[in-house]
Symmetry: C2
Subunit: 170 residues, 2 copies
């Protein structure tokens, strides 16, 4: 499926000079949603994934559907102050400023097999923070699953050689 | 499936006196995720839904999966400043303060059949704002789909007699 034809370039969002990749036309297409769920899950079907870890907000869009397809659970990573139970926090720099991410401190059993997911990898700061967030659980991070990878920003260099699978690359 | 056993009460979150219903144990369970996707979609399988409209952030967790199951598209409603293209905005009061929601102004064709979804209905303010947000598209709002309904808060009274389907009621 030609997903690139369903990704809309929005110039100067969220700030001047950035060309934002708008995936809402993918979401709007029933065929594209189903294709993305299937294609994002496919490489991981026989990897005994225990949990798909998805990053708020757009990592929530496909994460639970991928988890269901893999017979895995879904663990949310959220912005600060959103998770109700006790959390651990990581502060990080990102392309457009700085931010914090949290995970419930009882979210994941030791030695679980994890698939990390988000809609888009840019400079890799958010995904790197997520790796840092889950590391104390002593997980086996099997892969990183992405709808879109901005390969020209070389975010993969931040990800400790964890295998990356993305459906669209720029 | 006994979903209530997978909902954790968190007292005094996000503020004193509120008992927050934490659905992360549902998300963590592979069986519960699959059950919720199937059970949320089931009543709408033959209703020719064009689009599932989901509210950031937790409405993103099941919305796209429900859409895929229904052969529908997914339309995100987001907090202010998150959607990259031109938007329409609705300001509203909610249980814990006030907020704004946005939708892309070209998101939905006139006369589309919509299913609105979120994880939880409390006082109904957020869902009411979403109805207001989509109304200019002249839609047929077929239903509101919820994981959890806090029926004691009577949020359904805000929803213009649109049929509500929830998996768990308190």
């Amino acid at each position: 499926m030609d997903l690139k034809s369903l990704i809309r370039d929005i110039p100067d969002f969220p700030k001047p000079g950035i060309i934002f990749k708008d995936i809402t036309p993918i979401l709007k297409s029933p065929e594209a949603i189903q294709y993305c769920i299937d294609a994002l899950a496919a490489p991981h079907m026989n990897q005994s994934i225990d949990y798909v870890v998805g990053i708020e907000s757009r990592g929530f869009l496909f994460g639970p559907a991928i988890a269901a397809k893999l017979g895995a659970g879904f663990i949310p990573v959220r912005k600060r102050g959103k998770l109700p139970h006790r959390t651990r926090v990581v502060n990080y720099d990102l392309e457009y400023g700085s931010d914090s991410l949290e995970i419930h401190e009882d979210a994941i059993e030791a030695n679980s097999r994890l698939l990390l997911t988000d809609d888009l990898l840019a400079t890799g700061g958010t995904m790197k923070a997520t790796i840092e967030l889950v590391t104390p659980f002593s997980p086996h991070i099997v892969g990183v699953s992405l709808l879109v990878e901005l390969a020209f920003l070389n975010g993969s260099a931040q990800l400790d050689n964890i295998p990356i699978h993305s459906l669209v690359q720029y």
